[in-house]
């Protein structure tokens, strides 16, 4: 059985090349079939591993004189299932989304796009299954490359290419850190060049330094602040099915890497835990604050990915602290909440990107200030966006709440017995998490209202209609999962316990939580029943009374017109911007009224925000380097005589240096 699946797996990978030769009208369906086959094969492995809660090792291909094995343990199984689900919804969604590009792109361009989408899926799966360091780094690179080509799909736009290059460079900086880390461990210990080799290093060395290298390498992919600056650019530039998959699962590969490395560290965990927690809290708070000031819906969602990576990191950080301080309940519920949030975030974030993409295909703008009132034209899309928004805010009875709840309960339950240091950390964490939750609500009430509610702000909204079935079907699939996890979280606890088993053997705290989760399901049920009762009561009451329609109450101002006077995204964000002006860095472009201006002329008002971290860490240093490089560029005169002169000077220099025995 397994050997047959391995062969099938190899065949599917090889068949990806066939995408270049199949006729154009079969391109999409061939890709779909290959994705489905990949998902089917790997899901069987993953489910088997989870059910047996053991490890599997299968011979894959000959590699550098030995056999490269596919290794599947509960941790990778979990990620495999998440990757498969989101990739499948992504490819289904792509059918509708790519419709409008079919006449712009030729056959080869489309084939190249599908090929890369397939290879993003393959590479993510292999990243999760390979433990050999060299093979891992190679497949990691393929993942970066395929996603790079996906990001620059609309390569006719100059801006997109620029963003793509930025993404590619940052991914390679990350790769360098990963390579350094692996090589360092290898050189120091001489153990095998793989993840298992790290265990040898960590057993005999202080783990923090090497962990830091890995954290930077993987953190660039995951988008922890301050390593995030590629993310808010790449997601908006990519087509929506790509942003959904990239934000939903690809950035989680960074988290996977961090978790995989953490698996092998068993001592001096406290520093690491506090480090992860600090970075994560900062990512959560800054990510959501930056999201509030964005006008581009996909950029806004990208910043929310940073926020959610922060929440995942808070869970993992607390889990590590729990291990270090020997508080099992914190360890289990921290890791449990963090890992469940990986699944949850992959669901609601892809849902949000798909619905935002649906709005984009209909209105051709991502600027929310130009939208409004779309719920009447695209009711299903609007309701799915609302579902995603409620889930990402962590509101019950949806899935985001369950993972945040696990983290909260872990924290509150360990307060009483923990040390002073741990209590202080916990105080900061739960207040941070509460603020992040509140800000997420602030942000999503804004973005949902501005896009879908009120009335249209510009004519771009006019032609919008509901999108087709292929763009709605993934939403139904994801929506079902969101509601399922939200209402019956209990069924996910056994697999979750198996996954956490790789970090701590004492998972009793998770099982103790099962009655609690049952009561949450009950409370959610009661909540729905109460809504139903009140709804029936109102229906009965309104049948007896007259229900009328009328204009919105304009507060006694006869000229009130929602199209002109409704709130905008800028005005909604304004009171928060005033509180955090330094952090979110919003610049207003507006000339104040002069005192002598009795009849003010029409004025122009604009706001811009820029990412402080990107400015300080990326733009300013690279600009400095550029000014130096420009000075050096004087030598590049373009005259052959000058270049010959340089060669002569160089030869003379070499001669003199050797003559005086300097080299």
């Amino acid at each position: 059985m397994d050997s047959m699946l391995i062969v099938l797996f190899k065949i599917v990978i090889t068949l990806s090349l066939a995408l270049f030769v199949v006729p154009r009208r079969f391109q999409y369906y061939s890709t779909l079939v290959l994705h489905a086959a990949l998902a089917f094969i790997t899901s069987i492995w993953a489910l088997n591993t989870l059910a047996a809660s053991s490890k599997q090792s299968l011979a894959f291909i000959p590699f550098l004189g030995s056999t490269l094995n596919i290794e599947i343990d509960p941790l990778s199984s979990f990620f495999i299932l998440v990757v498969n689900f989101t990739s499948i919804t992504g490819i289904i969604y792509a059918k509708g989304y790519l419709q409008s590009y079919l006449n712009k792109k030729n056959k080869m361009e489309m084939a190249w796009h599908f090929f890369n989408f397939l290879w993003l899926h393959i590479s993510m799966l292999l990243v999760l299954m390979l433990h050999d360091a060299l093979a891992f780094l190679m497949i990691w690179e393929i993942m970066s490359l395929s996603s790079f080509f996906l990001v620059i799909f609309e390569s006719e736009k100059k801006e997109t290419i620029k963003i793509g290059i930025k993404y590619l460079i940052q991914m390679h900086v990350g790769l360098v850190f990963l390579m350094l880390a692996f090589i360092l461990a290898y050189v120091q210990t001489g153990a095998e060049f793989s993840f298992e080799g790290l265990a040898v290093y960590f057993a005999s060395h202080n783990p923090f330094g090497l962990f830091l290298l890995f954290f930077i390498g993987f953190g660039i992919k995951a988008g922890f602040i301050p390593l995030h600056s590629w993310l808010p650019h790449a997601h908006p530039a990519a087509p929506s099915h790509v942003s959904g998959v990239m934000s939903g699962v690809m950035i989680k590969m960074g988290i996977y890497g961090i978790l995989r490395v953490l698996m092998y560290i068993h001592h001096d965990l406290l520093d690491i835990g506090i480090f992860i927690l600090t970075i994560s809290l900062a990512s959560g708070l800054i990510g959501v604050s930056m999201a509030i000031v964005q006008h581009d819906v996909k950029k806004l969602l990208a910043y929310h990915s940073i926020e959610n990576i922060g929440i995942i990191g808070i869970g993992i950080g607390l889990g590590v602290i729990g291990l270090a301080e020997n508080i099992p309940v914190l360890a289990v519920l921290g890791f449990g909440g963090g890992i469940l949030h990986i699944l949850n975030h992959s669901l609601f974030k892809s849902l949000l990107f798909y619905t935002a993409g649906a709005v984009y295909t209909q209105t051709h703008t991502r600027n929310i200030e130009q939208l409004g009132g779309l719920i009447k034209k695209m009711p299903k899309t609007a309701l799915f966006f609302l579902l995603g928004a409620l889930a990402i805010c962590g509101l019950p009875p949806f899935n985001g709440f369950i993972s945040e709840f696990l983290i909260y309960v872990g924290m509150f339950k360990s307060l009483h017995t923990a040390s002073l240091m741990a209590d202080t950390v916990l105080l900061l964490s739960f207040s941070g998490l509460a603020i992040i939750g509140g800000l997420a609500i602030f942000c999503f009430t804004k973005v949902f209202s501005i896009i879908f509610l009120g009335t249209a702000r510009t004519a771009k909204v006019e032609p919008a209609t509901e999108v087709g079935a292929s763009m709605l079907l993934p939403n139904f699939m994801i929506g079902f999962m969101i509601v399922l996890i939200g209402f019956v979280p209990v069924i996910f606890m056994q697999p979750l316990a198996t996954i956490i088993g790789v970090f701590t053997s004492d998972t009793a705290a998770l099982h103790e939580l099962i009655p609690t989760l049952n009561k949450i399901s009950l409370s959610s049920g009661v909540f729905i029943v109460i809504i139903g009762i009140v709804w029936l009561l109102r229906a009965w009451q309104q049948k007896l009374q007259t229900v009328k329609q009328g204009p919105t109450w304009g507060c006694a101002y006869a000229g009130a017109n929602p199209a002109l006077h409704q709130y905008t995204a800028t005005s909604y964000a304004d009171n928060y911007v005033q509180l955090t002006s330094k952090l979110v860095n919003v610049k207003k472009d507006f000339k104040e009224f002069g005192e002598d201006e009795i009849f003010p002329k029409p004025r122009h008002f604009e706001t811009h925000s820029s990412d402080v971290f990107e400015d300080v860490l990326i733009t300013r240093p690279t600009n400095k380097i550029l000014t130096w490089l420009e000075k050096i560029a004087v030598f590049q005169t373009g005259k052959i005589q000058h270049y010959l002169l340089y060669a002569l000077v160089f030869l003379a220099l070499i001669f003199l240096l050797t003559y005086f025995n300097l080299i």
């Binding site: 009132g373 719920i375 009447k376 009711p379 609302l386 962590g394 509101l395 019950p396 945040e404 709840f405 309960v409 509150f412 339950k413 307060l415 009483h416 040390s419 002073l420 209590d423 739960f430 207040s431 509460a434 603020i435 939750g437 509140g438 609500i441 009430t445 804004k446 209202s449 501005i450 509610l453 009120g454 939580l513 609690t516 009561k519 009950l522 409370s523 009661v526 909540f527 729905i528 109460i530 809504i531 009140v534 709804w535 309104q542 009374q545 229900v547 009328k548 329609q549 009328g550 204009p551 919105t552 507060c555 929602p562 006077h565 409704q566 709130y567 909604y572 009171n575 005033q578 509180l579």
Partner: protein, 304 residues
């Protein structure tokens, strides 16, 4: 079941006492204590007008808002009377459920396309975001103190015996009173009786709600006050007391809380709008002081 009944009874009279106190201080003729109930009954007899700008969301929002509060009420114990639903971490569920209700009301206000309602919605979103940490730090302090993580167990095991622990009780009550004021959009964050829409928060959000929906929103406010009042009473009522003594204290505290709200609203002016965030964050600061006090009591911080 009894706790639910007590909370409901208190809810019916709460706003009545508030307006009575306010009228007395303003030397007006006092309305009946049941006046808010009559108002709501009148609303139930009325039809409704829905704005043509609004969508289905505007119609379901009041229902969800009411249901969140009604469900949240089930978690609250009164004295040694058990709550209907109780589980570990139920106060997290409680806080996030109320946030869900607020989310829907904010979205509904934005749905009308009115600039005024947008402004109110926006302020409500900011203030309720800012007050959230205070609640969590306060509950965290109680969890740290008692080692329990549900409303029922927390209050059941909360024995304030030493002098320092009285500080916790008093400070917690202070913070809870003001959390209740912020959550219900009352003084000093918001003035429910203001006449200018530009200075409103909650009142302006519900300008377009009428009839049944408006009645639900009003009842929601009563229930919220009653819920927070019950939580405040939890810091005073001890389990060792006999049941009639507990019930008497419960209603005494409710009446005192309502009177305090009335006094506060009669004598205090509303904060300047831009001072509100600072003021609300102060509640979190006090909550942190409570947390530190608990750390001292539990001898994690050792003073000498």
């Amino acid at each position: 079941m009894i706790s639910l009944l007590l909370i409901l009874i208190a809810a019916v009279f709460f706003i009545g006492i508030v307006i009575k106190v306010k009228a007395k201080i303003a030397a007006r003729k006092m309305p009946s204590v049941l006046q808010p109930v009559y108002d709501v009954i009148r609303l139930f007899r009325k039809g409704a007008i829905y704005s043509t700008t609004t969508s289905i969301l505007f119609r379901v929002a009041p229902l969800i808002y009411f249901a969140t509060i009604a469900t949240a009420m089930l978690f609250i114990p009164v004295g040694s009377q058990k709550s209907i639903l109780s589980f570990q971490g139920d106060f997290v569920f409680f806080a996030y459920l109320l946030a869900f209700g607020k989310f829907m009301m904010i979205v509904a206000a934005m749905d009308t396309g009115s600039g005024f309602e947008g402004m109110g919605a926006n302020r409500e979103a900011l203030y309720s975001m800012l007050v959230e940490p205070a609640f969590f730090i306060l509950m965290g302090s109680q969890a740290l103190f008692t080692g329990y993580v549900s409303f029922q167990d927390l209050f059941f095991h909360l024995h304030l015996s030493s002098q320092l622990s009285y500080i916790i009780g008093l400070a917690s009550i202070y913070v809870f009173v003001y959390i209740a004021m912020v959550e219900n959009s009352r003084m000093p964050v918001d003035d429910p009786k203001t006449h200018l829409e530009l200075t409103m928060v909650h009142e302006v959000m519900v300008l377009d709600n009428s009839g049944f929906d408006l009645a639900l929103i009003h009842i929601g406010t009563w229930l919220k006050f009653s819920i927070y009042g019950t939580l405040i009473s939890g810091f005073v009522i001890q389990n060792s007391w006999s049941w009639y003594w507990q019930v008497a204290t419960f209603f005494g505290i409710m009446a005192a809380f309502a009177a305090a709200v009335g006094l506060l609203e009669a004598f205090r002016a509303r904060n300047k709008m831009e001072k509100n965030p600072q003021w609300i964050l102060m509640l979190s600061a006090i909550a942190v002081v409570i947390f530190l006090t608990v750390l001292i009591i539990t001898q994690k911080i050792i003073l000498n």
